[in-house]
Symmetry: C2
């Protein structure tokens, strides 16, 4: 078997092989916004809509990342960067497998999202600003986190005692305080569709 | 939109949704063995054979992991464990997406592989011992690593100055010093096929 052992790089299936099989182009969607802005809800519904339209996508969010690969990371500045770095690398692995990877993370700092874009590759990175006013997000308070932050039980909570830096020029902005969920999903889908269609 | 925001767990597409779409069951194959034993070569050829048979798999190996998500890890004992932990978590994400994830890593210690099995879930973890004698592996020395280890330029090299702990009861053992590459691939494929077939 020794004769058959070669460097691996040019021998694995390529992203194009996977994409042809799946009948789509892979992309990385990056949903950023305050806690409670609706990122995960949009991600879930978008995944479903894509699936029903014959596309294959994968959602990464706090629930499957913070409990798994990033379960040994805290919330210091450095750990938050490392959190986003690992997520970006995982997203790239899905991208390289031809999959549409939908990421739903607050990712409050521009530097974080710039790093994510750089790891994924700018041509495949779609930044979506999921925007609702802090008042609205706080009034939703799905997980009771804003209340805890206001009571000082959580420190460094984005929007309360840690700033959120909105994207300067997102590829899309979804105003979840102004549009219905379904319309928000449709906006993303309409934007995405030509980008994931095979030529 | 506030009314539509719910906890995410039961709303995302399930592994079964993905599996039905791909027409297969996801599994995690874990190829362990000495450097030069042929893990990556088997992984590459297996991926290709699966693909041609209509299955969808993904290879994780040093080339796409050590240069990506684990590019901030060295080779201390703790970092080697963390290396395997992160790989296992990535494999689980692919598994949860219905994909057959083929992992090719020396993973020399039983404790490492036990951790991997535990993260992936024992029912989905297939341990494959890629076995060739040290002499054979060293004579192949594809990347010149054995030579460097013998010269003391690499410390803690598995098989030279760091022990390899063979699996006690692997699901499969492929003797790459005794069988042809194609036969090794066929052995794995034959074992795997009933496990990835949809009922």
């Amino acid at each position: 078997m020794a004769d058959h052992i070669h460097p691996i790089f040019d021998r694995l299936l390529t992203r194009d092989d996977y994409e042809q099989r799946l009948g789509q182009r892979g992309k990385v969607l990056w949903l950023t916004g305050l806690s409670g802005s609706g990122k995960s809800t949009l991600a879930i519904q978008l995944e479903r809509k894509l699936f029903e339209a014959g596309f294959f996508s994968k959602v990464l969010d706090g629930d499957n990342i913070r409990t798994g690969i990033n379960n040994n990371l805290g919330f210091s500045e450095a750990e938050r960067m490392e959190n986003i770095r690992r997520i970006s690398e995982v997203a790239r692995l899905f991208l390289d497998t031809g999959i549409i990877c939908i990421n739903a993370f607050i990712s409050p700092k521009r530097a974080m999202r710039d790093m994510a874009r750089s790891i994924v590759g700018p041509g495949d990175f779609i930044e979506i600003y999921v925007n609702a006013t802090l008042d609205i997000c706080e009034s939703r308070d799905v997980k009771g986190l804003y209340q805890k932050a206001r009571q000082g039980m959580i420190k460094g909570f984005t929007g309360i005692d840690d700033p959120y830096e909105p994207p300067f020029a997102p590829d899309l902005e979804i105003r979840t305080d102004l549009v219905e969920l379904e319309d928000g999903v449709d906006q993303i889908f309409a934007y995405l569709r030509p980008l994931i269609a095979l030529a």
